[in-house]
Symmetry: C2
Subunit: 190 residues, 2 copies
DNA sequence: CGCGGGTTTGATGATGCTCAAGCCCGGTGG
DNA sequence: CCACCGGGCTTGAGCATCATCAAACCCGCG
């Protein structure tokens, strides 16, 4: 039913067959089409989303009225707007499917109950947040350290398939570069 | 004994008087002098550090052999190198006291036991990590959105006392600006 | 076939860096 | 108590990186 999610959880904590139905009480599947939105600016983000299959991105509308891509999520990634989720404030972000995707949604309201019934799930989330923090620290370090050109090359090298999978302009805005400059970089590279 | 830490924990979870001694088994106090290091590049980071009093910074040596400040921690903040902590790999960072400071240290090895005895502590860490993630998302958004000048003004406005408390060159490197340019910005501001 | 979103190309210019020199000021030793 | 260091901050000139704007181009799709 949720092959990737279950496997992912079991990478970190125990979850036996009798506990699976308990988990299932709390999560649900969402099928989204390409370009469909899971969260819109102004809404209060209510869930944490896990990518079973496909690809999501999180973006916001910047001061120049452009879409600024903030984050991508491929298979086995969780994605949410933590600020909106925790403080119950309107989100500044959109979460959108780049491709047709299968998403697992965990309602924030239900999390506490879930953690009561399956305490290892709190441990699981704590552990993956530590990993995300480690990656985020690296991301910020890269932004400091690397020129835009190096950022692009580093990203291309780190996620070889990904550059093909998303439009250039999304990648550009994720890297904090203009689409024009990415175009020049690609030309230069070849 | 740890007035700030206890108060901070109790902001998020229950912790009664009989549980305090259990917590105390797992943490210890470290007094550090100005400029003293809690972690050095090449070491494996073993603990999570809580600032009871004083001020820490995390930095690394960049490709130009300069100290690049990565993060500050004031009172009531936790600081650690997650990558080194989790993967037990040598750290690329230094953690240093900017002022004489009183630090509470929680050994990573002991965390699991602590969470066994006081499950609410896992909940506490999970919750503060969510908050940190929210702040980090904002930090990255600011780096995207704002010019260096705006970054400086925003930081000055957000932490009015802080600009006085740390040397300009540390602040500059935290914001990803050269010390020279910060100097020009300050002049311009007045 | 024409439309439109996305990419490329060119010309121009601003932001913010580099390097070099001078300055300020607190600390240290004589 | 003074002199002199030296780290940090300031100032200036020149310049690289990368953004902006505008136009052309490409190509999948209705």
């Amino acid at each position: 039913m949720y092959p990737n999610l279950i496997k992912h959880i079991r990478n970190y904590v125990d979850l036996n067959e009798t506990e699976l139905p308990i988990l299932y009480k709390y999560i649900k599947t969402i099928q989204v089409a390409k370009k469909e939105l899971l969260l819109e600016e102004g809404q209060i983000c209510k869930s944490n989303y896990f990518v079973e299959k496909g690809c999501l991105r999180m973006y916001y509308i910047n001061s120049k009225a452009e879409e600024q891509t903030f984050q991508f999520a491929l298979e086995n990634w969780w994605m949410t707007d933590y600020k909106s989720l925790i403080d119950k404030t309107p989100s500044e972000y959109f979460i959108q499917a780049i491709e047709k995707a299968q998403i697992v949604s965990l309602d924030y309201q239900k999390q506490e109950q879930l953690f009561e019934e399956l305490p290892q799930m709190e441990r699981y989330f704590h552990m993956i947040m530590q990993r995300v923090s480690a990656l985020t620290q690296l991301r910020i370090k890269n932004i400091y350290e690397l020129s835009k050109e190096e950022l692009f090359l580093d990203f291309s090298a780190s996620f070889p398939g990904f550059v093909q999978r998303v439009p250039q302009y999304m990648l550009a805005s994720y890297l904090g570069i203009t689409a024009e400059y990415v175009s020049r970089l690609r030309k230069k590279k070849s």
